[in-house]
């Protein structure tokens, strides 16, 4: 099993550009999550999904959108990138609520 994979690893965006961060898991997990980590801080939840077709906001959803059309994939869309979105983005998955979460390697995004 590859676990949770994310692409790209690094990206530099100009202010106002858009992009999609990809996340795929091969563990047949129902729950998937997107977190962001700002320098020197712990992770904060952006959006999560409890299954295909079902998504919900986390603590810091503004400026982001998600979709979940399959069990495996959970892309995160950034519209109109802003410098405040410079961060490291982690995708995670778990079998169900309260179960152990497994994290991808992260995407380091810089908006200038």
């Amino acid at each position: 099993n590859a676990g949770v994979t994310q692409t790209p690893k690094f990206r530099i965006l100009k202010i106002g550009q858009s992009m999609t961060l990809q996340c795929t898991q091969d563990m047949n997990h129902n729950y998937m999550y997107w977190y962001r980590q700002d320098p020197g801080m712990g992770l904060k939840l952006i959006y999560y999904s409890v299954g295909a077709g079902i998504t919900d906001k986390g603590e810091v959803p503004n400026g982001y959108n998600v979709s979940r059309s399959t069990t495996e994939d959970f892309p995160l869309r950034l519209e109109l990138a802003a410098p405040s979105q410079t961060s490291v983005y982690f995708c995670a998955s778990s079998y169900d609520r309260g179960f152990e979460q497994y994290f991808g390697p992260g995407t380091r995004l810089t908006v200038t």
């Binding site: 999550y33 712990g42 409890v50 603590e59 979460q101 497994y102 390697p105």
Partner: protein, 108 residues
Amino acid sequence: GIQVEQSPPDLILQEGANSTLRCNFSDSVNNLQWFHQNPWGQLINLFYIPSGTKQNGRLSATTVATERYSLLYISSSQTTDSGVYFCAVVGGANNLFFGTGTRLTVIP
């Protein structure tokens, strides 16, 4: 959300020394995980431990859910143990709430 406090914020150890990291949380939890974030930024799962004690090699963890704290023990530390250790909990919501971490530096 649940408040998670970790101590100490920074820790410097000589190789071979032992250490204890603490995590306090503000409410009852369904899930507690310890992670090691290595210098390359990768999050490595150490323990899934909502209650009780677990051991994995030189590392062990204990969670006392009724008293709302967890401890991570590192014995015979190695330079590869350096990095940031995070405690994270799930309460009534679906997501993990992370503490701000303990930065561990092990010097040879």
